[in-house]
Assembly symmetry: C2
Homo-oligomer: 528 residues x 2
C-alpha cells in the first residue's frame, strides 16, 4: 500500500525550473513540504528512492539527497539506514493541533509571544482519526500562563486611557513611552542597560524573530540557523517558514554545550537561537563560563546570537542570571534579545520587543517601514500605561508566588513514582517527566562510549515505546500532554529522550490536584 503510494507520488506534477532564483534542492524541498502540508503525504508514508526521484525529474541524485537532508533537519522526513525515507511518523504531533478532545496535545503552547497556536482551530484538512477519542478532562498543554488575576483596576485603567487617546502616527520602532518603560524594566529585572532607541516593539517573540530573519537574510539567502536540540519547536517553525535551514546544537541539562559548537572548517551557522536563562524544555540556566564562550565564539565567527528570553522572570529557585545581552556591547554587539509578554501577561495580547545593536536595529527598522508595524497604537499606549503603573511587576510577583505553590503541588503528587525523572523546575510553567526503561538503559544513556551504540539503540527504542504507551494512556485517562521526544528537531532516536511535558501554571489548586492524581495513577500503572 505504501509502496503503491510511493510509486504514484512520482506521477505528481512537480515542476522544477532553473530560472526561478532558487536552487533546485530548495525547490524540490518546497514541493515535498507542500505535499506534506496539504496532506497528500501523511505521517509515516514511505517516499520513492532518491534514485527514482532523480530519474523521474531529470535531476541529479545529489539534488534529491540535499533536499531530503533539509527536510530531515526540519523534521518533515525521517531517513533510516536500510529502509525507505518516510514522512516523520511523529509529524502530526510536531505541528500545532488544537487541544481538542480528539488529540493528545503537542508542544504548541508557546514559551513565547503572540496569539497561541494552541487555539481551538479548524485543524488542517487531513482525515482525522477520532473515532474513539476520549474527552480531555485535564488539559496539561505546556506553558500556558494563568490569566485569572490579570484583569485588575490598573489593567482596566491602562486600556481606558488608551481608548481615550486619538490614534496618531507612531515611529516604526514603536511608541517612545512604551520603549522607555521596557528599558527601565530590563534594567531592573534583567541587568540590561540600553537606551529606548535600542528597542523595537513587536507582536511577540515569533514576530520579532520573523522581522530579524528578514532584516538579516532577506528571502534570497538560505541561511543556516543553529537551534538547541531539544528546543522550542515554535521558533524553529518561524525559521524554516522564512527559508532557513536548521542546524542542531547539543545541550545538556545546563543548556548549550559550548564546547561542541561548530568550529571552522565545519559549517558555522549564520545565527543561533539560544535560551540561556532557562533552557527549553530541560530547564537549565547557562553557566557564566559557557555564556562567555558562546559570546567569544559568536564574535570570532560573526554569528548573530538570538537570545530567547521567554520566561526568565518566572524563577522560583535562586536569582536568574542577567540576560546574555547584559554581557554584550550595547551598540556593536552580537546578541539580539527577543522579549515577550506571553508568559507574564498572556500570549493572546501578542506583544513583545526586540533589543539589538545599532546596525541590526537599523536594518530591522527598514523592514518595518516596508512591511508596516503590526502592533496597534492602542495596545502600545495601554502597555506603556500598564508598565508605568508598576502593575506588571506586581502581577509578575503575585503570579510567581502562585506558580511556586503549584510547582510544589506537582512535585509532591509525583513523589514516589518510580521509573521517572522530573527535571529540576527552577522556573517556568511546565515540568518535564522523563521515562527511563531500566537501570541498564540509564547506564547506556550516560556512557555513549564505543561499543555502547547498539545497547543505546535498543534502550532508546524501548524508551520511545514507553513514551508512546504513556502518551496513549494519558489520552485515555483524559490528560492532554506533550511527548518529550518531539522537542528534538531531528528524528534521530539516539539523540532524543522520552517522556512527557506537562503545563501546570494555568490550573487552579483543585484542578491541579485532580490532574496530578490522575497522572500519578497513569505513571504507576504504566511502570508495573
Amino acid at each position: 500500500m505504501e509502496s503503491m503510494r510511493a510509486a504514484q507520488l512520482l506521477e505528481l506534477p512537480i515542476e522544477l525550473r532553473s530560472d526561478r532564483g532558487s536552487s533546485l534542492p530548495s525547490q524540490l524541498a518546497a514541493a515535498v513540504r507542500e505535499l506534506i502540508d496539504t496532506g497528500v503525504l501523511a505521517a509515516g508514508d514511505a517516499l520513492p528512492s532518491t534514485r527514482a526521484w532523480a530519474r523521474q525529474l531529470s535531476i541529479s541524485r545529489g539534488t534529491v539527497v540535499t533536499a531530503f537532508e533539509q527536510l530531515g533537519a526540519e523534521g518533515y522526513l525521517e531517513a533510516r539506514r536500510g529502509s525507505a525515507t518516510r514522512v516523520n511518523p511523529r509529524l502530526a504531533a510536531m505541528h500545532p493541533r488544537p487541544p481538542s478532545p480528539a488529540h493528545v496535545s503537542t508542544p504548541q503552547a508557546a514559551p513565547l509571544g503572540s496569539v497561541s497556536a494552541s487555539a481551538p482551530t479548524p485543524a488542517r484538512r487531513r482525515p482525522q482519526t477520532a473515532p474513539r477519542a476520549p474527552r480531555v478532562i485535564h488539559d496539561l498543554t505546556p506553558d500556558r500562563p494563568s490569566t485569572e488575576h490579570l484583569v485588575t483596576p490598573a489593567w482596566r485603567a491602562a486600556w481606558r486611557t488608551a481608548a481615550e487617546t486619538v490614534p496618531a502616527a507612531l515611529p516604526p520602532a514603536g511608541l517612545p513611552a512604551l520603549r522607555e518603560q521596557i528599558v527601565e524594566h530590563l534594567r531592573r529585572m534583567r541587568g540590561v542597560r540600553r537606551d529606548a532607541d535600542a528597542v523595537i516593539v513587536t507582536a511577540g517573540a515569533r514576530e520579532g524573530l520573523a522581522l530579524l530573519m528578514l532584516a538579516l537574510f532577506g528571502t534570497a539567502a538560505a541561511p543556516a540557523i543553529g537551534v538547541e536540540s531539544p528546543g522550542y519547536p515554535s521558533l524553529r517553525r518561524v525559521v524554516t517558514r522564512l527559508g532557513a535551514r536548521l542546524q542542531q546544537l547539543q545541550v545538556d541539562t545546563s543548556g548549550l554545550l559550548t564546547d561542541r559548537l561548530p568550529q571552522p572548517p565545519e559549517t558555522v551557522p549564520d545565527a543561533v537561537i539560544v535560551t540561556p536563562s532557562h533552557q527549553y524544555p530541560l530547564g537549565g540556566s547557562l553557566p557564566a563560563d559557557r555564556r562567555r564562550e558562546l559570546l567569544e565564539w559568536a564574535r570570532r565567527n560573526e554569528v548573530v546570537i538570538i537570545e530567547d528570553d521567554y520566561d526568565s522572570e518566572l524563577r522560583y529557585v535562586g536569582q536568574p542570571l542577567p540576560a546574555l545581552a547584559a554581557l554584550d556591547d550595547p551598540h556593536d554587539g552580537v546578541v539580539v534579545t527577543l522579549g515577550t509578554y506571553s508568559k507574564t501577561v498572556a500570549p493572546e495580547v501578542a506583544t513583545g520587543f526586540v533589543i539589538a545593536g545599532d546596525r541590526l536595529r537599523e536594518r530591522m527598522l527598514q523592514v518595518r517601514r516596508d512591511l508596516g508595524s503590526p502592533v496597534s497604537a492602542v495596545t502600545q499606549i495601554a502597555f506603556a500605561e500598564y508598565l508605568a503603573s508598576g502593575e506588571l511587576r506586581r502581577h509578575t510577583a503575585r503570579m510567581r508566588r502562585i506558580y511556586r505553590q503549584r510547582r510544589s503541588r506537582v512535585l509532591t503528587r509525583l513523589q514516589g513514582v518510580r521509573g521517572i525523572t522530573v527535571f529540576p523546575m527552577d522556573g517556568g510553567l511546565h515540568a518535564v517527566i522523563e521515562v527511563m526503561h531500566d537501570s541498564k538503559q540509564a547506564e547506556a544513556m550516560r556512557t555513549p562510549a564505543a561499543g555502547a551504540g547498539r545497547a543505546q539503540g535498543d534502550a532508546s527504542r524501548a524508551s520511545r515505546e514507553r513514551e508512546t504507551g504513556l502518551v496513549r494512556r494519558c489520552t485515555a485517562a483524559g490528560l492532554a500532554v506533550s511527548p518529550l521526544s518531539t522537542y528534538w528537531s531531528s528524528g534521530d532516536d539516539g539523540e532524543s529522550r522520552h517522556g512527557i511535558v506537562i503545563g501546570y501554571g494555568h490550573l487552579d489548586d483543585q484542578e491541579l490536584d485532580a490532574a496530578m492524581l490522575a497522572l500519578a495513577r497513569v505513571l504507576i500503572e504504566e511502570s508495573v
Copy 2:
C-alpha cells in the same frame, strides 16, 4: 567625482556564492540594494558598467544585466541609453521619510492598513541635506484619515468590554465574533457574500499581503507580481521585501487596461495587485467589462488576483461597484481581497482582514500557525464590539459627509488655476494635480504615434522639470506634498506623469482653506 565613486565601488566586498540556494542575479541585486539602503550609494550615484562588474566579480555580464533590470523594476536603479546606470535620483522620495520640516513628504501615507510609515521616525542614517529646510506649515501628506471624531462613547465602550475580558486562545484565523461582523459588513457594503470561515483577521493590508505572499510562494520562489503603474508604492515594497519581482501593468484613468495584460508566450505574472474600486492614485473605478476580462484572464492563466479594497466606502459620487470578490467563486476563486480599517478608522489601529477561497485560506492559516497571529485578542474583541454596535457604519457615514465637504473646498480653491488637471475625486482622501507643460505637450501625451516619440520625450522632460520645480516651491511655502511621478514604479520618463498628490481628509476647514490658498498661490506663480 561620481566616476571615482563608481570605481571605488568595485573594491567593495560583494560576496556571491553558488551554494546559497539563491541565484547569482538575486544575490547581486540584494547586495546592491543593501548598498543603497545603507546609504553607501546615494540617489543619483552612477554605477560601474555591467562589464566592469562582471569582470570584477568573475560572473557573466548577463548576470549583472538581470540584477540591474530587477533593481530597475523595483525603482532602485535607473538605466538611460548611452549613459551610466545610476541610483534612481528620486529614490529618497520613494522611500518613506518622516514628514519632518526637512523634507517634502512622499507617498508613504498609505491607502492601506497598519501603522503608517509616515510616522515621525529617526530617518535612515544617510547624510541629510537640510541646511535651509523650511518649516512645514501645512502637512498635505496623502491619505491620512481624520481621527478627530473617532473617540465616541461606543468606541470607549468597545475597548472597555475588551479590557474586561480575560484573554483566551484564539483560532489562527481570528476571533469568530469579529469574523462574523466582518462578513456581515461586507455583505451590506461591498456585495460580497462569504461565510465567516472565509476571513482571516490581519494587522492591516500590508500584513495580509505578507501573509499571502508567504503562503503562495514561500521564500524560495521568486515570483513575478503584476502591479498597477502608477500604483500604491507601499504594497510594492512589501512584495519586493518578500523576494518577488515587480511586473508593471498599464492603467488609464478608469483603472487597469485589461487588453494590455500579458498573454502567453509573454511572461504572465504569478499574481497581480489591483485596485478595482478606486484606482490608486488616479481615482478611476474599473468598469464591469474590464472586471470580467480580468477574472477570465486570471482563471485562464492561473493568476491570483489580489484585490486591494482600501477605501471603497469613502465614495462621494455615485455608488461604488461591488468588490471584485463578489464576482468570484467563494470556495474555488482566484480573487483574494485585502481589507483594512486604515481609512475608515485609522492606520495606527493596525487592523484589517483577508478574504480568500478555501485552498488559499488553508495555506495562509498554515503560515499563521507557524508565525503566530500578530493581532491582539484585546483589539479583536474591541473591534467585534465596535462593529456590532453599528458605530463603524455611523462613523463612516459621518466622515464621508465631512470628507465630501473638504473635497468641495479643494475643488473650489483650485478652480481657475491654469495649466493643471485635478483628477476626478470620486472618493478617497487625496487629490492628484497633474501639470501639463503646454498644449503641444498635452497633444504629444495623447497621441503616442510613430514619430511622436521625440516630442513626447521632450514634453515629458519638460513636465518632469515642472514637477521638480513645483515640489520645490511647495516645500519653500511650507507645504508637504508628494511628487506624482513617484507612483510609477519604473524610472521611465516616457510613462510617468507629473504633478503632485495631496491629502485633504485630515485637515479641518480652517486649515484646509489656508493650505489651499497657499497651494493655489504656488500653482499660479509657478505657471506664469
